[in-house]
């Protein structure tokens, strides 16, 4: 009996350990859909290219879709640099965070890696990346002012530079031109008042009809509202930022959409479907949504458009995307910088855009004809200039999630807005200490 008891306890403990394992939900993942791993292919290609004998080998980690596409894309670089061989490893977004954790803990990682903008503070604080500002004099692409300002902001942490912008994304307003036209809007709502008015009109169409759909799990949404209201986060003020009237007003505005049922509180149909059927005629999302709508909702082609986000003080949105960083333990720093330099050239950025539809981080790349001609894309270009970067703080992820929880309590439980936000502010203060 005794030994059996021991076995049970051992079994139980094993299960406890296992409970910690599992996937990671990539908060970055614009596009988690394709998790195929093209590693084998990529390695095979790389080996064929191995004509220079003393070629230095650098390994690159790229995530999701980008990882799959980059393997072939680097051939262009290898042709130009016969002495450098690039090994691309594609990592699904779901595993990206765990893989990075492992790399940091073991000190064994790639030379160059793709880094989501919101992960900079978290991993830079742990000393995972090389401070590139030391190389700024030799390499002018580091901190180059041709990159979007919002993108450069997120490469900096604690006075050092931990990455070079690779591609960017931002959210814009998607709206049904036909439905808004019916309710007197020949163009998209330009400001908060119009937005609220249009949403009320559209939600009035009947039961199960909504105005502006808001994703309650997207932690960038509440700050976007706040930025639109002229709120600015300053690091010195810490949690005091959340007492600012601009912030509080914005949260009240956010709550209005749920209070008046202009946005659906429950899960509902997927947004693509709701948009196509007209129940949810407005929502905000990133560039990836353009192609999804073109593919999945061909019936409404021509009846929808994108516009800059409406704001009260400014038409702000959030900037996201990815940087390229050098791993702190890398032994091939020069080659790695050479590679990043290549990837950040405007021409490469245009090629990369053509391959993957991700938006170039360099402003001069936007002068390209193809990018200019596509009107929907041009909106993203304009929005990027007004896009704000989330604060680069290691605690931000926590704070942003707390804010979402508070807003959920306000929307669903009817918690008092001011009291709830006061306690959120208190919590943020504890976290920032």
């Amino acid at each position: 009996m005794r030994s059996r008891k021991l076995m049970f306890i051992a079994g139980a403990s094993m299960l406890t350990v296992v409970a910690g394992c599992g996937g990671n939900n990539g908060t970055e993942g614009n596009d988690n859909a394709n998790e195929g791993n093209d590693n084998a292919n990529v390695n095979a290609n790389a080996n064929e290219e191995n004509n220079a004998e003393e070629a230095a080998e650098i390994s690159v980690w790229a995530m999701g879709e980008e990882g799959n596409a980059l393997g072939e894309f680097v051939e262009g670089f290898e042709e130009e640099h016969s002495n450098i061989e690039v090994n691309v490893e594609a990592i699904p977004w779901d595993n990206a965070h765990d893989s990075l954790l492992t790399a940091v803990a073991s000190g064994e990682g790639p030379d160059v890696l793709q880094l989501g903008t919101t992960w900079v503070a978290e991993f830079a604080g742990a000393g995972a990346f090389l401070d590139l500002s030391e190389y700024e004099d030799e390499h002018d692409f580091i901190n180059h002012d041709d990159f979007f300002e919002g993108a450069l902001d997120t490469t900096e942490y604690d006075g050092a530079t931990y990455g070079v912008p690779w591609y960017v994304d931002t959210r814009v307003l998607f709206y049904r031109t036909d439905l808004l036209e019916e309710h007197g809007y020949s163009e998209a709502p330009q400001n908060w008042e119009e937005m609220l008015d249009a949403s009320r009109e559209l939600a009035d169409r009947g039961d199960g009809m909504y105005g502006y759909d808001i994703d309650q799990e997207d932690q960038l949404v509440p700050p976007i509202f706040a930025w639109q209201n002229g709120w600015e986060f300053s690091e010195e003020d810490g949690a005091e930022n959340f007492a600012a009237s601009e912030f509080r007003e914005a949260m009240e505005y956010y709550h209005t959409f749920f209070d008046e049922e202009l946005a659906q509180e429950t899960e509902g149909v997927p947004i693509e479907q709701g948009f196509e059927e007209g129940e949810k005629p407005m929502f905000s999302s990133g560039p990836w949504m353009v192609n999804i709508l073109r593919d999945e909702a061909p019936d409404i082609e021509g009846d929808w458009d994108v516009a800059m986000m409406p704001g009260s003080e400014k038409n702000a949105s959030a900037i996201g995307g990815s940087h390229l960083s050098v791993f702190s333990e890398s032994e091939n720093v020069d080659e790695s910088l050479e590679f990043i330099s290549y990837m950040s050239e405007p021409d490469t950025q245009i090629d990369w855009f053509n391959d993957t539809n991700t938006l170039p981080a360099r402003q001069s790349a936007w002068d390209d004809e193809e990018l200019q001609e596509d009107e929907k894309l041009a909106v993203f270009g304009d929005q990027l200039e007004e896009a704000v970067a989330p604060p680069v703080l290691a605690e931000w992820e926590n704070i942003a999630q707390d804010l979402l929880s508070s807003l959920e309590r306000i929307n669903r439980e009817g918690a008092d807005l001011d009291e709830e936000l006061d306690s959120f502010q208190e919590e943020a203060e504890n976290r920032l200490d």
Binding site: S13, A19, L101, G127, E408
Partner: protein, 293 residues
């Protein structure tokens, strides 16, 4: 041929013991140690920054309302889910035991399939079934004249929804254990009962159920341990929401540890879960023993 080396038994159990030490005992000791530190991502990269904080993690946990909520939710999961799994899998096994052999195989497979289906695939399908507006469940309820049920949108209903899903998924494996136990009950018991003129219910009550007591004990212990670590269902279906109504202890640990990198805090929470599990298991052993005596 009969040379007994004192090493022989060690050689036999050696590999298993080694694996146990490496993958169970060592991790437990490590997590025990780090639960008294403030290790985070920075500490992972640079061990010098790790500080010993004594019981601080545990004190904070005791004051953390989300942790309270997760304990409460886990207890609800266990107290509803475990009896339900045992009753359902036992009834299914008993019924399967009555029917003919071809049907038997078919239904056995049918009931087992959920256990071996990938949880992500299950989550996709069930999320649609549970959808308030377009889900099948509400569609059926509506056509029968009932109101919409907020399956995953209400903190308490969402817990029940996840329990239903987990029971559906958990029946298969326990049913198999019961079936095996049922088939090992000696025929002679039933023959003797027939001679005594026992009816079907009496045979069930006085022969089948008592003969299954060890199987029931095994199923109870393993199911309870599993349900105390309720993780996959809220992780893939609700992410702990709405309003933290489905947050379980295991999910809390995962989020703290792997989403927010508070490894020390998460280790402390997992230690508490570990104690919960051991206490629950020991209670059952004591209970079982006193019954045997």
């Amino acid at each position: 041929m009969n040379h007994k080396s004192p090493m022989t038994p060690w050689l036999f159990i050696g590999p298993a013991v080694l694996l146990l030490i490496m993958f169970s005992l060592l991790p437990i000791l490590v997590s025990l140690t780090i639960s008294f530190t403030d290790i985070d991502l920075i500490g992972l990269g640079n061990w010098d920054t790790i500080e010993f904080v004594g019981l601080e993690n545990f004190i904070n946990l005791i004051q953390d309302p989300l942790f309270h909520r997760s304990i409460f939710n886990t207890l609800i999961y266990v107290s509803i889910g475990v009896p339900l799994v045992i009753i359902c899998s036992l009834s299914v096994a008993l019924m399967l035991n009555y029917i003919s052999s071809k049907l038997f195989t078919f239904f056995r497979v049918l009931f087992y399939v959920p256990s071996i289906t990938n949880i992500v695939a299950i989550a996709v399908v069930w999320a649609f079934l549970y959808n308030m507006d377009v889900g099948l469940f509400n569609f059926v309820l509506n056509s029968l004249g009932f109101q919409d049920v907020p399956w995953l949108e209400h903190p308490f209903v969402a817990k029940i929804s996840l329990i239903i899903l987990a029971v559906w998924k958990g029946i298969g494996i326990n049913m198999l254990i019961y079936l095996a136990a049922l088939q090992s009950i000696p025929r002679s018991f039933y023959e003797a009962a027939d001679i005594d003129g026992a009816n079907k219910f009496q045979k069930l009550r006085f022969i089948t159920i008592p003969s299954l007591s060890y199987a029931t004990f095994f199923v109870t212990v393993t199911t309870l341990i599993g349900w105390l670590q309720f993780f996959e269902e809220p992780f893939v279906m609700t992410g702990g929401g709405p309003l933290d109504g489905t947050m379980s202890m295991a999910l809390f640990i995962y989020e703290r540890g792997f989403q927010y990198n508070e490894f020390g805090y998460a280790a402390a929470a997992s230690l508490i879960l570990f104690v919960f599990i051991i206490v629950a298991t020991l209670i059952q052993f004591t209970f079982n023993k006193s019954k045997e005596n």
